[in-house]
Amino acid sequence: MSPTLTKFLFCILCLIACNQIFGQISLESKLKLQGEYRLFQILDSLSKQINIAYSRDKLKNRLVEVRKNSTLQSILEDLKSNKLVQYHLEENQVVLSPYIKKSYSITGVLKDADTDEDIIGATIQIDGTNNGTFTNGYGYFSITLFEGVYKVKFSHVSYRSQTREIDLSKNIYLDAKLISLTTTLDEVEVSSIPNNVNITETIPSMNRIFVSQTDLEIPYLLGEVDVIQNALLQPGIKSIGEDASGIHVRGGAVDQNLSLLDEATIYNPNHFYGLISAFNPEAVNDIRILKGFIPPSYGGRGSSVIEVRQKEGNFTETRYSGGVGLVSARGLIEGPLKKGKSSFLVSGRQSLLNLSLNDFASTSVRRSRIRFQDLNFKVNTRPNNSNQLYLSGYYGRDRNSVGLNSLRRWGNSILNIRWNRIYSPQLFSNISAFVSEYNYKIENEEEPGAFVDKSKIRDLGFKAHFTYTFEISNEVNFGINSIYHNISPGSREPLGIETDTNITELGRERGLASALYGGHSFSLGQIYFNYGFRYSMLHNLGPRRVFIYENNQPTADTAIIDTLRFASGELINLFKRLEPRASLAFVINSATSIKSSYTRNAQYIRLISNTISPAPTDIWKLTGTYMPPLIADQYTLGLYKNFKNNIWEASIEGYYKAIQNNIQYKNGADLFFNENIETELLIGRSRAYGAELYIKKRKGKLKGWIAYTLSRAESRLNSNSISKFIAENHDKTHDFSTSWTFNISERVSASANFIYNTGIPVTLPSDKYVFENNLVPHFTQRNNSRLPDYHRLDLSLKINGKKFKKDGSIRKNRDYWIISVYNVYARKNAYSYFFRESETNSGVGEIVQYSIFGTAIPGITYSFKF
């Protein structure tokens, strides 16, 4: 035993001064020594004098420095703070155990430094590790880490990245703010390196559109910035043509997309018969399109989720922005109600002229004209760091006059109230309630008799979502959704006094669509898992009449053998489905991963439409006695790779989607005001499969992407098991699109899109015959050919206003012009074929190729912000 240690022990023995005694010494006993010792040296000696319990196997024999005038307690505390041991006192024994690192959470809401608005979808990465997380749809994030000092990096495509050093020794609430790239003066790229979230993200096949940034600059038809047009340039997202409303995601039908604005469903996300989307770009912040793996918190549609978030409103100062184009004018005002605590936003958009798409050449007063407008608002308050309340709304209307005396009006409206609460650093909740309505109204003074038709679907919804974070990359999500659907398929009332039309109303449909869900995401080494389930239900509720058909087959209304009547609130049917979901990402290295997923979606509500493209007057119908829920199973497998410090990202992804209980229609199905609509429907199945290639350059003077999809979408009827699958109307074998933006100078940037795809299927006639002097085409097989291939180039130029005043100071106001040319080389892309009799040659049939745009279309818009 060394003399120093003997001295040390002697001191311990001698200096007993306190109430609690462990063997022969107390905690407060002063030790007259200093110097460095090995831990076991100290402990071995101590154990002879006091009751001390420890295990050599578990402790590390490190060097320990003992300061002058240390007490037993201070030595133990030092050992603890050096993270060598933990101790606790048990009766008259000191029990030592290996030090276990404590975990603490960093939570907070990431905000825009300028406006205080929440930043959605930003990444938070721990420097030097692969660990990271995202801000959720409300800007909230939570990361749980072992205590220590970390460099935390916040990044987002529209913001200058920021790294903060954090000493994590307790739970921390962090008020992080990022500076928007649009407000930074130097357009020189911030030196940050783009992140690799696309590699580690466990939601494969997700497209994101940031309306606030460069996604604005790509050329749009008539210069109208449009989120749906932008989405169509992404892989796997298609439309039938320019004049067609609705999009097809990975071969799914138009009604298989769940469009959410804040939390509420938008049933018709279009204006102007599909040419312009219902989402005013001025009021929209961020759009996510989930087309492969759908997290369990979403459901109710077979193919995709299109999640649109409105801006929050500026918390610090009142700002105005807006724009004027050829088609519409838009404006926005936002600002604080109480600075830093609450904000508001109001935005509106109005079409400028009576627009007309079909029959443009006609000067007839009877031609069809259209107008549209919409209004968005949001009020937002943060009483404290743990709570945030929102109230948001949307009202959109289209007004179409057809001929002289017919007026059609339709639109969506929503009202949504939402409460985000942080209960603890681990537990976050989002609770919302909403009303969503889509309706249309037709006033007609023509035959047969003047009437007003009305139809509407109204949802009352409630959602509660909870996220519990155990530690980084380990969290559970759970919650409930419930929507009460009330559908009035149609009512007709007489218009004016002389009319004698009956008041007719089709039976209403009511149903409660609910779901309980849970999901868990975690990582095991290089593998990131995200799995869960959704248990969904639909209660069909009375009052309602249900027709009973012969052999239970709704073949025709003449086959009705009985009618069942259900009282108000009475249960008619209950459908239940378990929807498992799973996704995994195998991160090979920080720039490469392989992801695979499986998603089942059950859909309980369908759009009844047998036209090529849905009309605003099509009605929604709930799953019921004769219409089972649609079930979609999708499998995906993809390889993701980033190059050159994540400046380039690339992915290739394959998918296979099988859809059961797909609806088809009988020849000449009569869907208008039909009480027995089930007699016009046929149940079938469809499938879609394909591969998507995506390459994107995210930084630099030249930015843009290339998307290519090779795919097939086809369907067949159930009744005929030998029938072959036939290509769906929206099937495009090859679909290529690319979009690039080049910063020419500080103030000028140029953009280009190029699109090429295989023509959509078309049904060609074999014969012609004459009936009542009209030449009639006769068809043998549906979709037996294709339209010519489609290609188009669009260009645009963005010119920013001056950033400095004459005296050299910075202008607070921003403005820019966008000049665009759509279809630059004036290609007459085929939209469809008409089969008709030649005007000059009676009895001779002609095939006429119809192009919506036969020429190049210029557009110009002016936008400002002050």
């Binding site: 002229l353 035959e447 009542e772 049939g845 036969g854």
Partner: protein, 281 residues
């Protein structure tokens, strides 16, 4: 100013149509029949032809050598004879009787027999009133800036409450029938059963001094469905609001099980009510 803008928009958004040549599936050469037995005592007509390849430059082939009769449920037979170009006239003037059922039977030269389903002559519904109360100014396409007045007929009818009724309207301008696909005008009484219905026909414009003949036909549900499908197939195909191309199923078929060929067209019965007016300001 607004007008100028509107014209700019019209110019730049103008859509475009072009006749193209496309390879088509092989022709099926199907028998096509067109016949509406009316409730008026007149020469009844049956037209028979054969479809040909859509892209053929020639007209459809008339069939001139068939044996044609219309038969009533009571067993009365009305024979027809070929006149010209596949048009067969009844040998006698006769009228379909309301409430009676009829069918068309044809024997082809190769002795193959065709027959329609039985069609019932529906109750005749009379036009209560025909007036001209509405007019509007239409831009004159031949004279830019000029306008002319267009009149359209307004017709009242009383729908019988007890039945499901299906109607077809036919319009004549100075004795010439509107035959364009768009002028196929059909109605069912689902939404106005048992009411006195005013019908404004804005699609049928007339100028001053022209004679309007309005014909209201009561048709069967089968004929209504056929016409509705026919109209959809010849007016809306190729537009985004159009339906998918489909067979227009008729009510005529070959009697032998060995022949599976479709027969195109329809044999229908129409109970007719007419009214006339001359356009005067």
């Amino acid at each position: 100013m607004k007008k100028i803008f509107e014209h700019i928009l019209i110019l730049i958004l103008i859509s475009c149509e072009e006749v193209v040549v496309v390879e088509l599936p092989p022709a099926q050469n199907l028998i096509t029949i067109e016949s509406w037995l009316s409730s008026l005592s007149e020469t009844q007509i049956v037209k028979i032809s054969q479809s040909i390849g859509f892209s053929k430059r020639s007209q459809v082939q008339p069939i001139t050598d068939a044996e044609v009769i219309i038969q009533s449920r009571q067993g009365i037979i009305f024979p027809f004879s070929h006149t010209n170009n596949g048009i067969y006239h009844s040998n006698l003037l006769f009228a379909g009787e309301v409430g009676q059922e009829y069918r068309l039977r044809i024997v082809m030269k190769n002795r193959q027999e065709l027959s329609s389903d039985w069609e019932r002559m529906e109750e005749q519904v009379t036009i209560s009133d025909l007036t001209l109360i509405n007019s509007f100014e239409e831009n004159d396409p031949d004279n830019p800036g000029g306008q002319f007045t267009v009149f359209f007929p307004k017709v009242l009818k009383r729908d019988p409450a007890e039945d499901e009724n299906y109607y077809r309207w036919i319009f004549y301008k100075d004795r010439i029938r509107y035959t364009e696909p768009e002028s196929i005008t059909i109605q069912n009484d689902r939404l106005f059963n048992g009411n006195l219905i005013p019908n404004d026909f804005q699609s049928f414009g007339y100028a001053e001094e022209e004679e309007i003949i309005v014909e209201l036909q009561s048709v069967t549900k089968g004929a209504y469905n056929f016409l509705s499908l026919l109209k959809a197939q010849i007016t809306s195909l190729g537009t985004s609001t159009g339906t998918t191309p489909a067979n227009i199923t008729g009510n005529i078929s070959f009697q032998s099980d060995e022949v599976n060929d479709l027969v195109l067209g329809y044999f229908g019965t129409v109970a007719i009510s007419r009214d006339t007016i001359i356009v005067e300001e």
